[in-house]
């Protein structure tokens, strides 16, 4: 089992969710994060003064999957999270991290392991 963490652009969330359900990944956890990476921040204005905002809003997905689903999941994300024209991908589109996951327990009935995912 793996825990897949993906950091994506907020406005790609709907598309990624769609792509994940196409590969039958229906469960995930979403949280709001702020990113700091290759992508430059943006400039806001305050009475004529420039204000550099360098932490950029991103969305983080945590998805626990069984081995068989790892590749489809990653592929689905990579394809659907790209924001450039023609789906080419551009700076700021995000990263995916894959971590080992030792166990999963479902709270409602206590089921453990792969079938609990």
């Amino acid at each position: 089992m793996k825990l897949i963490i993906a950091i994506i652009q907020p406005h790609r969330l709907e598309a990624v969710k769609q792509a994940l359900s196409n590969v039958e990944v229906f469960r995930l956890t979403v949280s709001d994060v702020q990113g700091y990476g290759r992508q430059k921040g943006h400039t806001e204005y305050f009475r004529g003064k420039e204000l550099q905002v360098n932490l950029i809003r991103k969305v983080r997905l945590d998805i626990a999957v069984n081995e068989a689903f790892v590749k489809p999941t990653i592929d689905a994300i990579v394809q659907s999270a790209r924001s450039g024209p023609g789906g080419k991908g551009q700076i700021g589109d995000g990263k995916i991290f894959m971590l080992p996951l030792e166990n999963v327990i479902r709270v409602s009935d206590g089921t453990q392991g792969g079938e609990a995912i």
Binding site: Q9, P10, D32, Q39, K40, T43, I56, K58
Partner: protein
């Protein structure tokens, strides 16, 4: 869903009733109006202060009559609007104190009161409170005058009202329609205040039914006793702008309702009292203060010296009460809070309400100081006695209103108005004030207990536990006051034609 099934639902009873009454009245209205208008053509019309009219275009008939003072009419129009803004103000004030999940539902208590009570008032509430019964015994206790049902027998052009109980007001009559509306807003805010005690756990259907019944059974008679020339007014008790009619009655009713409803889940442990947005609460307190000028100075019913004196007393007592509450906090736990100054302002406004048109100007900071300190104490009572007066409607309005009613008896001065108090050597006034305050306590407590009991046995008064846990905003209204997520993520410099 099928309409037929829906109309069988218990929760809809009140709405069905309301609509039925309304349609009935609407259908018979023209006929009724004609009868009433013929029967009592000049019921309340008292021609006064007619100015010489040399208008450009000659106007004739009713339109040429001007039996009201335009200056006072202007002030009453503005005052009524000012009292109306107290409802959005109260919604922010209360809404900011509750937890995020009950934000909208708490605001809704004020807005629904605006809807329900305005209509109730127009149909029969005004008549019950301010109608003049032909039978003097009935008149002591309730108003009864068919010409004031839906204002059917009222000539909107010629009917005028002087200021009830305000000596200098009688000079400056205003159209009765605006007097009606001014009083309507009082009838609205009083039950809305009760929401502070029952916040975060009362069913919306029960709330709607409660305020409708409470307005009819408790508020309208009480207003009649004092302001509609009922038995308390005849005795000599005074209440300038509603210390007893509005604040004692709502505060005590809140206490009774809170006890009958029971405590919120988790009370008094847990972070149940973490306000979701004190900035909105402060803004609400600001709007309340602003609107209260209409409430208090407007109660002179005229743009006269009395209104101005009431305005001054209101300002100074309020300011002082805010300082006093902060002072009490400083003594108590070394932190003058923003909720504290806001609460103190409200406490001062409450206490000066019955007094503002009667007491000497120099007494207003004293009344304010006492209000701030005593109401701060009042807010601690619930910890001692263990009831859950969620937003301190009793602690601030009940106790502050009582204090104000008594202090009116102390500081009333004939330099301001016709009633003398203890400082003028007129000790009996204290007894009158105690009567009026005590009467409000009893009527409010009994009336509320009966209504809540009946509602509990019929439609139920408390939300299911699941709704209380998950929040009333969604549970009652299918909405959420605060959103997560969805904050934009601007990422780059935009093309120059973007704007």
């Amino acid at each position: 869903m099928r309409l037929r099934n829906l109309l069988r639902e218990p929760a809809m009873r009140w709405l069905r009733g309301l609509i039925a009454v309304l349609l009935l009245l609407a259908m018979t209205a023209p006929a009724l109006a004609q009868t009433a208008a013929t029967a009592m053509p000049a019921a309340t019309a008292t021609p006064a202060t007619t100015q010489a009219a040399s208008a450009a275009a000659p106007v004739t008939g009713a339109w040429a009559q001007q039996n009201y003072d335009t200056g006072s009419t202007a002030w009453m129009l503005a005052s009524t609007a000012l009292v109306m803004i107290m409802m959005p103000g109260l919604a922010l004030y209360y809404g900011g104190i509750v937890r995020k999940k009950n934000f909208l539902a708490t605001m809704m208590t004020s807005y629904s009161a605006l809807g329900i009570i305005c209509v109730q008032w127009f149909i029969f509430g005004y008549m019950l409170a301010f109608g003049t019964s032909s039978n003097p015994i009935v008149q002591k206790f309730i108003g009864w005058d068919p010409s004031r049902i839906m204002m059917l027998g009222l000539n909107p052009i010629t009917a005028v009202t002087g200021a009830p109980g305000a000596p200098a007001g009688g000079q400056f009559p205003v159209p009765e329609t605006i007097f009606n509306m001014f009083q309507a807003m009082f009838a609205v805010i009083t039950p809305a205040l009760i929401a502070g005690s029952v916040a975060e756990r009362m069913k919306f259907s029960a709330w709607c039914a409660f305020i409708f019944l409470w307005g009819t059974i408790v508020y309208d008679p009480l207003a009649h006793f004092i302001w509609g020339n009922g038995w308390l007014a005849q005795m000599g008790a005074v209440d300038f702008a509603g210390g007893t009619v509005v604040h004692i009655s709502s505060g005590v009713s809140g206490l009774v309702a809170a006890i009958m409803l029971g405590k919120r889940a988790g009370y008094p442990k847990g972070n149940i009292i973490q306000p979701n947005s004190l900035g909105l609460t402060l803004t609400g307190a600001g709007l309340l203060w602003f609107g209260w000028y209409g409430f208090n100075a407007g109660s002179a019913n005229a743009a006269n010296g009395l209104a101005c004196a009431a305005f001054l007393n209101t300002t100074i007592a309020t300011a002082m009460a805010g300082l006093a509450w902060n002072f009490a906090e400083w003594v108590h736990h070394r932190r003058p809070t923003t909720l504290g100054i806001a609460s103190g302002f409200v406490a001062g406004l409450v206490a000066i309400t019955p007094a503002c048109g009667y007491v000497a100007l120099w007494s207003s900071p004293i009344i304010g100081f006492l209000a701030g300190v005593v109401c701060y104490g009042g807010a601690q009572l619930k910890t001692i006695f263990g009831y859950d007066d969620a937003l301190d409607a009793f602690g601030v309005h009940g106790i502050g209103g009582f204090l104000g009613a008594m202090l009116t008896g102390v500081f009333a001065s004939t330099a301001i108005n016709t009633t003398a108090g203890v400082i003028d050597g007129h000790w009996i006034q204290l007894w009158y004030q105690f009567c009026v305050a005590g009467d409000a306590v009893v009527l409010a407590a009994v009336g509320t207990a009966v209504i809540v009991f009946v509602l509990d046995k019929t439609i139920g008064i408390r939300v299911p536990e699941q709704v209380e846990i998950e929040g009333l905003d969604f549970g009652l209204h299918g909405e959420n006051g605060w959103q997560v997520g969805d904050i934009p993520a601007p990422s780059a410099v935009l093309p120059s034609n973007a704007i």
